[in-house]
């Protein structure tokens, strides 16, 4: 390290020792706190599951890896916050946020995605990646002007004591919302016409056309649905934490990693991967440190890619 001074030596100590002080396992951690962390972890995992499902649905249906999914998640929160500032209640504002993101989804589908769908195969995948990346960058640039800082939903959440465990009400709310949405998606895919049509297109596009399904319409509707899911995910997250325009790219990264680990074209895989990764990362963050947790996430993603490349084709 080409500099001298006490601060540098301390940085070395931080590198070696982890995040300041002995890890929590060494110091006595009470089981109540551990249960509370587990609840937080499940909430985060379900949040990741929603993001992963959002990106997987669209990729599976149309070969478009939507790198703007994180921006959608953030946009929903920002619109909701703006509505609250205008005097709207939190719940209607949240709904407003989701609707705004869905509308954005419609606009993107009508314009950009139509152009992307003109290509086929590998070319479409590459095009989809760069067009959605450009979209994310452009929308972030637009959002940062009216929303330059960090924002949260102004909901009063407190502690819910279950025995010795101080559970965060915010996490419980996230779990509730995310579970309902995921369940809803499962029911949608299994039991509605549109859902079954989507699954058909997922598996065999030609076959789908033969049975009278219009892939383009199905893709549009599912894209808008995925945007709404992303918006809900963002709002669920913002209930307990803060969100800013820069969080968008971070969420997209999570979504891509979850999708890759879950098998990229598998919705249940994405959900499971999200939950698993979320729980592991949060526990790693609590027990060891954020740096290790983040590295772990990337290592798992790279390992998954190397292990099963055929799924991305």
């Amino acid at each position: 390290m080409p500099a001298s001074g006490g601060v540098r030596t301390h940085r070395m100590a931080l590198l070696l020792a982890g995040d300041g002080g002995p890890p929590a396992v060494v110091a006595a951690v009470d089981p109540g706190q551990l249960l509370a962390v587990a609840v937080d972890a499940v909430a985060f995992g379900l949040f990741l599951a929603l993001l992963g499902v959002g990106i997987t649905l669209v990729f599976g249906l149309g070969d478009v890896l939507n790198l703007a999914v994180g921006t959608f998640a953030v946009a929903g929160v920002l619109v909701a916050v703006a509505l609250v500032d205008l005097g709207v209640g939190v719940a209607p504002a949240a709904v407003g946020g989701v609707l705004a993101v869905a509308a954005l989804g419609v606009a993107v589908d009508r314009t950009l995605l139509s152009l992307v769908y003109r290509s086929e195969g590998q070319e479409r995948v590459l095009l989809g990646i760069f067009v959605t990346l450009g979209l994310a960058i452009a929308v972030d640039g637009l959002l940062v002007k009216p929303f330059p800082g960090s924002y949260t939903l102004p909901v009063e959440f407190g502690v819910v004591r279950v025995g010795p465990a101080p559970l965060a009400a915010a996490s419980l709310a996230t779990i509730a919302i995310a579970s309902v949405v995921l369940l809803g998606l499962v029911l949608f895919l299994r039991h509605t016409y549109l859902g079954r049509a989507a699954r058909t297109v997922f598996q065999d596009e030609t076959g789908a056309v033969l049975v009278g399904v219009e892939p383009r319409r199905v893709r549009s509707l599912v894209f808008v649905l995925s945007a709404a899911v992303a918006g809900i995910a963002g709002l669920a997250y913002a209930a307990g934490a803060t969100v800013g325009v820069a969080s968008g790219f971070e969420f997209t990264t999570f979504a891509v990693i979850v999708s890759v680990v879950g098998g990229v074209r598998s919705v249940p895989g994405a959900a499971a991967a999200g939950l698993l990764l979320g729980v592991v990362v949060q526990f790693a963050s609590f027990l060891v440190g954020t740096f290790v947790a983040e590295m772990l996430l990337f290592v798992v993603a790279v390992a998954a890619l190397l292990a099963r490349p055929e799924v991305l084709g």
């Binding site: 995040d19 937080d40 330059p148 307990g240």
Partner: protein
């Protein structure tokens, strides 16, 4: 409700930027630069500082300017990226002839731009940027304004701990220069063992970190994580923690009040140099409220002081040569909105300042009756000796 008379001038200055406007030359307006974080994790500091600075420049120009010449303020958003801040700084000096520049908040930005200030020989008035690594014994063009360096600030907080007799103290620090400096300051000065956790600068969820602390935590030090301070405060209360005191590094108080509401009165302690209890501050704040309709806080105060300091230095130097302006600042004794007059050491550290610690209570200050909170003094330090890097 804001009057932005000078952003128009700033736009013109930027357009004409290719040609070296020699903003310090004869006659024309004097260019002052502001490199502020107007987006990103340090936005609250940038926007408030800019507002106070713009008001100061407006007042000075309304009063005839500096020796008959108007001040022209050019403000650019750095988003707290050190590389972008550096190139904006250079452009302001080289293309627009800025005589002095102010604004750095993040210590990473401070460290980077301080180096450039020394290279370009142009005075740089830091806003926050409190890492002690920003200034060295050889610094001649970089000056602190709002935040005393980590060793000094943490020594003051250590005094608070000793006086109150707290045993269970926790700290969350951010993974960058300032956070590390705060950690060092804690290690060196605190009389008790402090449990610390390190979080990324951009972290938006502090639950895993807060949960590390024992439930009977008496004091939480959020000083080491400025961008996350508000989230830390919100989440600690959400998770059932009740520390008697939570310190920060100087977070614009209006935003803490907006985010926490009544919870702000649960021991959140604002660190500041601007003496909001003084007559001078009240007078300026009243004029500010009249002109903009907004409340002047401690950080608008820092922006105001920066503007006034630059103008005064140019006046006293009788020149717009940046080198002479810097020399004047170094030897100035400027009585302004702080408890003690501004004076500097040879290397740009503030001398003899009293750091004030205030809590929040419901109510309104005299100069802004529509407010729903006011600051109340918890304690102020003795005049503090400047940190010597040697």
């Amino acid at each position: 409700m804001r009057r932005r008379t000078f952003l128009g001038a700033a736009g013109a200055a930027t357009l004409g930027g290719c040609v070296n406007l020699a903003g310090g030359g004869e006659g024309g307006p004097i260019t002052v630069g502001a490199i502020e974080p107007l987006s990103g994790p340090f936005t609250p500091w940038g926007t408030t500082h800019r507002d106070g600075l713009e008001f100061a420049v407006e007042e000075i120009n309304a009063d005839g300017g500096v020796d008959g010449r108007e001040l022209s303020l050019t403000v650019t958003d750095t988003a707290s990226d050190p590389t972008d801040a550096d190139s904006v700084f250079r452009r302001m000096v080289e293309n627009e002839g800025a005589v002095a520049v102010t604004g750095p908040v993040s210590s990473d930005v401070g460290i980077r731009t301080a180096r450039t200030a020394e290279e370009l020989s142009v005075p740089l008035l830091l806003h926050m940027a409190g890492s002690e690594d920003v200034l060295s014994r050889d610094s001649r063009y970089t000056f602190r304004t709002a935040l005393l360096p980590a060793p000094t600030t943490m020594r003051a907080q250590a005094q608070l701990v000793t006086d109150a007799g707290y045993d269970s103290v926790g700290a969350i620090i951010a993974d960058y220069a300032w956070g590390e400096s705060v950690q060092e300051g804690i290690d060196q000065h605190f009389p008790v063992d402090v449990r610390t956790r390190v979080a990324p600068v951009g972290a938006d969820d502090f639950k895993p970190f807060v949960r590390q602390f024992p439930e009977d935590l008496e004091m939480m030090i959020a000083t080491g994580h400025p961008p996350g301070a508000v989230t830390i405060m919100r989440q600690q209360f959400q998770l059932g923690y009740e520390p008697a005191v939570t310190t920060e590094s100087g977070f614009p108080p209006a935003l803490i009040n907006d985010a926490l509401g009544d919870d702000a009165a649960r021991g959140i302690t604002h660190t500041h140099l601007t003496d909001v209890y003084s007559e001078e501050f009240r007078a300026v704040a009243e004029r500010y409220a009249e002109s903009t309709g907004d409340r002047m806080g401690t950080h608008e105060g820092y922006g105001y002081v920066a503007g006034q300091l630059i103008a005064e230095a140019i006046r006293q130097a009788g020149s717009t040569d940046p080198v002479e302006v810097a020399d004047t600042i170094r030897s100035i004794r400027f009585d302004t909105l702080y408890a003690n007059p501004i004076e500097y050491t040879e290397w740009g550290e503030l001398r003899n300042q009293r750091q004030v610690y205030s809590g929040y209570e419901a109510g309104a200050p005299g100069y802004y009756p529509e407010a729903d909170y006011r600051l109340t003094e918890v304690f102020r330090t003795e005049p503090l000796a400047p940190y010597d890097p040697a």
